[in-house]
Amino acid sequence: MRNMEGFRILVSDFMLTLASEELIILGTSLAAIVILTAGFVARELRKNSGGKGNDK
């Protein structure tokens, strides 16, 4: 029971923090950077394999 209570506090604390403005901005920016990076990596790999993606 004590563990469950602790878990509930942890979850509610986490949800409150997650909703904070700073973390929303941070999460969105990070997601955008990761997507952009994946795009760059795909482009470079395609270029290395001799396919399309050359910027010249």
Binding site: F14, T17, E22, L26, L30, I33, V34, L36, T37, F40, V41, A42, E44, L45, K47, N48, S49
Partner: protein, 359 residues
């Protein structure tokens, strides 16, 4: 033994210092700020996110615009970050930290560009570069708990500028050619799979780094020993990979570290051997990513830092308290890492160095 791995090693040592002073500044500010209970985990989380994740984009910009000296920019941003953290004249409570993080990212990327381009496929250079960070982390943490004034730290950071300018001469010699000599990935595996598995290994190692049972670590001296061992392990990993071969070093260090890590919860000496072996694979995953992204080493380095963030981020929300479950998780993750490394690393040549023609 691999010959010629000492060539351009000076660049590694220059960036050893720059990396060291970068981490000193960052961890000085972190340890000064995490005393507040609200900041206890939010401040390090924002630091990890903003110092690690944007490195891929900064790295790609650095790859495409090599004339921009990110080493100098990074040192200036770090100095400004330290000053603005002490004098909150800018709006927003995290502005100083954001500037500090960007400075950190810039110096790391600059180091990766210089080191990877001039190392000619050797790992010792990047291992020396990354090793400097561990010494800086503990030094910054210790200084943060003293009454050292912020301007002294800001001034110390600016001493990195001549080092960055000097290191740039090594990069100028390479004429922006792709990173020659990095051919450590298996040619039978699709490069995209190599990237995915290498980033997964970095992420798993990042998570494991926080989960290592170290109940023995109670005093300042013991913490210093832990970080110094990590630094030595990272450096030794690159040198061992150059001497004995990448695959042998990666598999040996991952397998041998496990029993020491599991048995070393209460025994410092045993645990430190495990930590050192565990840290040895750090430069190997970087070399694997550079092998498939030879013309964009900055982007390759940024991928390792994204992996590191993905591995460390869950720690802020979720951690195993029981040593037993932690040991099970560490064992399972080590097996996963070994399997991934065995798949993506090419077979070593007899003398450690790999030949371009071999599959």
């Amino acid at each position: 033994m691999k010959t010629g791995f000492k060539k351009n090693l000076g660049a590694g040592w220059l960036y050893f210092y720059i990396h060291f002073i970068t981490e000193v500044a960052c961890f000085f500010i972190l340890s000064r700020n995490v005393g507040d209970s609200v900041m206890l985990w939010l401040f390090p989380l924002i630091y990890d996110a903003l110092a690690f994740v944007p490195q891929s984009i900064i790295g790609y910009i650095s790859d495409k615009f090599p004339k921009i000296n990110f080493g100098v920019i990074g040192a200036l941003l770090l100095g400004a970050g330290v000053v603005f953290s002490s004098v909150p004249i800018l709006p927003g409570k995290f502005t100083g930290l954001v500037i500090l993080c960007l400075g950190n990212a810039c110096t790391h990327i600059s180091g990766a560009e210089v080191i990877l381009r001039c190392s000619e496929g050797n790992l010792s250079h990047s291992a020396i570069f990354v090793g400097g960070g561990s010494f800086g982390v503990i030094c910054g943490k210790l200084l943060g708990s003293t009454a050292l004034p912020y301007p002294i730290v800001a001034a110390a950071v600016l001493t990195a500028i001549p080092f960055a300018l000097l290191a740039e001469t090594y990069r100028a010699k390479t004429e922006e050619k792709p990173c020659v000599g990095f051919d450590y990935h298996s040619k039978k595996i699709n490069p995209a799979v190599v990237v995915l598995l290498a980033v997964t290994v970095v992420a798993v190692r990042g998570y494991m780094g926080y989960g290592i049972p170290t109940a023995w670590n109670k005093t300042v001296i013991q913490t210093v020993m832990l970080y110094v061992t990590m630094g030595i392990g990272k450096m030794a990993g690159g040198v061992a990979a150059d001497i004995f071969g990448v695959k042998k070093t990666a598999i040996f260090s991952a397998v041998a570290a496990l029993p020491f890590l599991l048995a070393g919860d209460q025994l410092m000496a045993v645990s430190l051997v495990g930590v050192m072996l565990f840290s040895m694979t750090m430069s190997i995953t970087l070399a694997l990513l550079v092998s498939v992204l030879k013309s964009t080493p900055g982007l390759a380095f940024g991928l390792t830092t994204i992996g590191l963030f993905c591995g460390t981020a869950p720690i802020f929300f979720f951690k195993f308290d029981s040593v037993r479950s932690n040991c099970i998780i560490i064992t399972a993750l080590t097996v996963l890492c070994i399997a991934a490394l065995m798949i993506i690393i090419r077979k070593d040549e007899k003398h450690g160095r790999l030949q371009d023609t071999r599959i």
